[in-house]
């Protein structure tokens, strides 16, 4: 998946995209998502997790990131995608207003550059439960990249 990302992510003319924005790509429930690279602090391999009794199901638990305690969020559960995620999820550590959270994803793809002209707002046919976490869509020649909105996630978590 990670190796194929580059070839997949070409612009509408078929040439590799050399745009003004960069996104880390990742897979959740087999679909591709992107997060603005400036929001991503690092990617960490699967980590031992401390469960938090009484917390909502999308909160997987706490991980020890070099002495810092970081809360891990299961994106599949948060997005309301049915099914059971596989074992050994990767941690995408994101920084939002000094808070660190880890978003759990299945696979990590490449960092892609996109052109802001290929942006489109999320279509209304996407279920609102998922749509509220997306800031929009970037079009590629043979694929589409849904962009995850970290601040929307934090907002939902905090509410």
């Amino acid at each position: 998946m990670a190796t194929s990302a580059e070839s997949q992510l070409t612009d509408a003319k078929g040439t590799p995209v050399g745009g003004d924005l960069q996104f880390s790509t990742m897979t959740v429930a087999g679909r591709q998502y992107g997060i603005d690279v400036t929001m991503v602090q690092e990617i960490v391999r699967p980590m031992p997790m401390t469960k938090i009794p009484l917390a909502p199901p999308y909160i997987y638990g706490l991980i020890n990131l070099r002495g810092q305690v970081v809360t891990a969020i299961g994106l599949m559960e948060l997005f309301g995608i049915p099914g059971k995620p596989p074992e050994g999820l990767m941690n995408v550590i994101c920084k939002h207003e000094d808070n660190l959270i880890s978003l759990l994803v299945e696979e990590i793809g490449d960092v892609v550059e996109v052109n802001s002209s290929s942006f489109e707002p999320t279509p209304n046919t996407i279920s609102p439960d998922l749509k509220k976490f997306l800031s929009g869509i970037y079009k590629f020649n043979d694929s589409l990249l849904s962009i995850i909105d970290i601040s929307a996630i934090m907002e939902v978590l905090d509410s």
């Binding site: 031992p48 401390t50 469960k51 938090i52 009794p53 009484l54 917390a55 909160i59 638990g61 706490l62 991980i63 020890n64 070099r66 002495g67 810092q68 305690v69 809360t71 808070n99 959270i101 934090m154 978590l157 905090d158």
Partner: protein, 938 residues
């Protein structure tokens, strides 16, 4: 002067604050022990420095006021005039003003406008000096003396010829015996007038870091007035460091400690001697580093304690008491953030001590105590905690008075009081809404004090205790952790999950080996309890509270570990599977969105790198109480639903200035508003206010209940409950809106002495008066009804008397309201409590006996829709008009209702509309007969 970098200004402010404190300290010593050269000189120097640096920074007001004090003190210092008490008082005031100015600068960067105060006080201060000068020395010019002219001799009260303005360096003075102590700290700016400085001429503003003089020393408040010691070479100097840097340092060290733990654990698994040795080294160095890092944030508690001299002094003066404050253990060191956190609670306790604790001078004399009350603040370290003890020799806390007061204020019931120990009763002073001061003063007595003290201390992981003996005095103990970051904790496991419990809350650990009845865990109403030395200890099963799988089984055959925790002086036992260890843990905060789960106070990382959650004792017990409360309400609801066909409704509680709290069903309330009394106008005798394009008539509820009229004259905000009757809104004027509360609708209408009351309800052991808002409004309306209308109404009432109406509703309150509305309009009304009963009654009655049926929709046994269908299916019921009165009024509900057979669908509950609809359907008084199905039976 805002071009100055903020750090420099901050430094200036800090220095000034320290100097001011020092001045207060010295003034107090002088007041207590009499005139002292050293102290006067120290005060003079401090004020001088404040003056100099404030002028440098362009804070002219501070400069002005300190200049006046400096001028006034100079002759005193030179023994030209004696130090009078009056001058001390003025200096106190002047310093007070200075510290307000400094505080103002700190808050918004510029001096607050206190020029009028300064204009008032500065001349008075200078007046002292001038008076003295005039009396002693009719010489013109600055009232200054060269030190060279002074000797230690006390007879030196006469003025030597003044040497007028002087140079900075006085070649003779330092060498001369008479003034060894007049050595000033390097003035920050050059002083234009004579000043005793050291021989070596100092270049003016020098970076403080290199300054060998201790006067601006930040950490050491106990600075001796003996000024610089010769040995002070500068290598012991202090530097000012940004607190954020220290915080970062602390955090890094915290992380280092965790890594050290992991290394240690790893080294034990390895059999590598060299590695083991190295890791031991690492261990020792890390521990030392941790210790030192912690110390960087430590401050002597004296930095806040010395302020209390001023606080008690001022307060004692105000109250006409004499107070002697003693501080012990000023050097006890505490984490900076903790110092800040205890400042306010301590202030409150000390003020309380002086205000409530100590008796008046006369009372003290009467009980044979010395006139001056004694307050001792003692701080010391004990067992990893800092203890601050505030002790007075006043009247003590009388448990019986406190108890009576608590019952009176509704803090607890008399029954509960009887079961309490004296100490527990004394601790009631920490209960919210409790104050023992008979009269409210601006000092204390508003009942918001001690509970705030308690919450604030507990917020930082501390604990407050009170010990008191009547007639002998009271002592308050504040137990505060040494530092916030590292906490000793128990590590426990339950159902395979590991948690930490902070040790502050842990009282003891109990292991119950033998679970035989009577000795082990017992169950009281399904709740586990344990007899701990004869007293019942309520137990919480941790696994159950946390919702862990298989939690609900306490294995009666297995040994059980109980951690006894103390929460608000209540002991609770926490059942866990295993107690693993005790450890010093570094508290890491949880993400904001996890803070809602109140049973955790944070997380920590263990030696093996694993993250564990820290349990919050308060949160755990709260969850227990919450559970109990929930259970109570469900039981309650259950019982009432089944047996009484009644239910909990929401009521709005408010205060009208009468003895009991009043209440109105929330369903009648349209809006809550607050109007300014100025905007209320009068038409005729009626108060009205413009409200949403119409005039809102205002009715005082208190007056309606037979109380005094509402005072509209004084300007204030008037809370108004807007109630709609028909289309028209009315405003019920009350004193205060309290709360929305779910109560049983079972209103006891037997206890009512006023038509405007529906009756009373017991809520939370209080009697709540439920007002009859609609009647109150009706009375108002009836004032405006014309004679013609009265006649018309009477005619209608006569007509209505010929009609029988059947109403049914399971909720007593609404049932009564419907009954009342129709009955008062003149109809004959029969009541049933559910659809089945109503149908039985209807089917038994003669054809045409009932002219109309009013029914609720949601009812037990047979609901409104069922009733309508049944009636329509009955041979007598084909054409009887039926009205549904309900809270369910979506268009779908209406559709369903119409289909079932209702003619009209009304929302609960508008009696006027109801009567007019009934009239219309029956065909009385202008009622449109067009769509009336029923042909009158008469």
């Amino acid at each position: 002067m805002s071009e100055m970098p903020q750090e420099v200004i901050d430094e200036f402010l800090t220095e000034c604050e320290e100097l001011i404190e020092d001045v207060f300290d010295k003034l107090r010593k002088i007041e207590k022990d009499g005139f002292d050269d050293d102290h006067i000189n120290a005060i003079y120097r401090s004020i001088h420095t404040v003056k100099g640096s404030s002028q440098l920074f362009g804070f002219s007001l501070i400069g002005k006021i300190s200049h006046s004090m400096e001028t006034a003190l100079d002759p005193v210092r030179h023994k030209i005039m004696p130090l009078e008490q009056r001058l001390i008082d003025e200096i106190y005031k002047g310093m007070e003003l200075t510290s307000r100015l400094i505080a103002g600068v700190r808050a918004d960067g510029s001096e607050p406008n206190l020029s009028s105060e300064i204009a008032d006080i500065a001349p008075r201060i200078i007046g002292h000096a001038a008076a003295a000068m005039n009396a002693l020395m009719p010489l013109p010019g600055e009232a200054l003396v060269t030190p060279a002219d002074l000797s230690h001799d006390n007879s030196m009260l006469q003025k030597k010829p003044a040497a007028t303005s002087e140079v900075k360096v006085e070649p003779v003075s330092p060498a001369r015996e008479p003034q060894p102590k007049i050595d000033t700290p390097a003035p920050v700016i050059p002083e234009p007038v004579a000043e005793v400085v050291e021989i070596k001429p100092k270049p003016t503003p020098k970076p403080k870091i290199e300054d060998s003089k201790p006067s601006p020393q930040p950490r050491n408040k106990t600075m001796e007035s003996k000024t610089t010691k010769a040995s002070d070479k500068g290598d012991n100097g202090t530097i000012r460091v940004n607190v954020n840097l220290l915080d970062n340092l602390m955090n890094r060290v915290g992380e280092l400690v965790l890594i050290r733990n992991q290394v240690l654990q790893f080294s034990k698994l390895n059999n590598d001697d060299e590695f083991l040795k190295l890791s031991q080294r690492l261990n020792v160095v890390t521990a030392e580093l941790q210790d030192d890092a912690m110390k960087t944030r430590m401050q002597p508690i004296g930095s806040i304690l010395t302020k209390f001299h001023r606080v008690t002094r001022d307060l004692a003066k105000e109250l006409g008491k004499e107070v002697d404050l003693e501080l012990i253990g000023k050097d006890t060191e505490l984490d900076k953030t903790l110092i800040e956190a205890v400042k306010d609670p301590l202030t409150h306790i000390v003020r309380n001590c002086v205000d409530h604790g100590l008796e008046s001078t006369e009372d003290r004399a009467a009980s044979g105590k010395p006139a001056a009350g004694k307050v001792v603040i003692k701080s010391y370290q004990e067992g990893g905690q800092i203890i601050i003890e505030i002790k007075d020799d006043g009247k003590g806390i009388d448990a019986s008075v406190i108890g009576a007061k608590a019952v009176e204020k509704g803090v607890l019931s008399g029954e509960a009081l009887a079961n309490m120990s004296e100490q527990d009763i004394q601790s009631l002073i920490f209960a919210p809404g409790f104050s023992t001061a008979a009269k409210v003063s601006n000092i204390s007595g508003r009942g918001v004090g001690m509970d705030v003290v308690k919450t604030n201390i507990e917020k930082i992981g501390g604990h407050v205790e009170v010990q008191s003996e009547v007639g002998k005095g009271t002592s308050m103990l504040l137990k505060i952790p040494l530092t916030l970051a590292i906490v000793p904790a128990m590590v426990v496991a339950t159902k395979g999950e590991v948690f930490a419990v902070p040790q502050v809350k842990v009282v003891e650990l109990v292991r119950v080996e033998d679970s035989v009845q009577g000795k082990g865990i017992e169950f009281l109403q399904g709740k586990p309890v344990y007899r701990l030395r004869g007293n019942l200890l309520p137990l919480l099963n941790l696994a159950q509270v946390l919702g862990l799988p298989d939690a609900d089984v306490i294995d009666k055959n297995d040994a059980v570990n109980i951690i006894v925790i103390n929460v608000d002086n209540q002991l609770v036992g926490l059942i866990v599977d295993e107690i693993l260890d005790s450890a010093d843990i570094v508290v890491k905060p949880l993400s904001k969105f996890l803070k809602r789960i109140t049973v955790y106070s944070g997380a920590t990382i263990m030696g093996d790198g694993r993250v564990i959650l820290i349990l919050d004792a308060n949160g755990l017990t709260r969850s227990m109480n919450h559970e109990a409360a929930l259970e109570a309400t469900t039981n309650y609801g259950h019982e009432t639903k089944d047996e009484l066909h009644d239910e909990i409704s929401e009521y709005l509680h408010f205060d009208v200035g009468l003895e009991s709290t009043c209440s109105v069903p929330l369903c009648l309330v349209h809006r809550l508003e607050e109007f300014n009394s100025k905007s209320i106008s009068v038409t005729g005798n009626q108060r009205v206010i413009k409200y949403r394009g119409t005039l809102l008539p205002l009715i005082s509820v208190r007056e309606a209940l037979g109380g005094t009229p509402f005072d509209y004259d004084s300007e204030r905000d008037v809370p108004v409950i807007v109630v709609s009757k028909g289309e028209k809104p009315f405003g019920l004027v009350v004193e205060q809106i309290l709360d929305v509360v779910a109560m049983d609708s079972q209103i006891d209408s037997s206890i009512k002495d006023n038509d405007n009351m529906l009756g009373s309800v017991i809520y939370d052991e209080d009697v709540i008066v439920v007002i009859d808002a609609l009647t109150i409004i009706q009375q108002l309306q009836s004032k405006f009804i014309t004679q013609e209308e009265v006649v018309k109404q009477e005619q209608a009432e006569n007509l209505r008397k010929n009609h029988n109406i059947l109403i049914t509703d399971d909720i007593a309150f609404f049932r009564n309201q419907v009954f009342k509305a129709l009955n008062e309009a003149g109809y004959n009304v029969d009541i049933d409590v559910d659809g089945q009963q109503a149908f039985n009654r209807f089917s038994k009655a003669e054809n045409g006996h009932y002219s109309l049926i009013v029914s609720d929709i949601e009812m037990p046994n047979l609901d409104g829709l069922g009733l309508a269908k049944a009636v329509r299916g009955h041979e007598n019921g084909k054409s009887i008009p039926m009205i549904a009165v309900t809270t369910r009024s979506s268009s779908r509900d209406i559709e369903k209702g119409k289909k079932a057979g209702f003619d009209v669908y009304l929302e609960k509950l508008d009696p006027i509309r109801l009567v007019s609809e009934v009239d219309r359907l029956i065909g009385i008084e202008g009622g449109e007969s067009g769509d009336v199905r029923r042909k009158s039976a008469n």
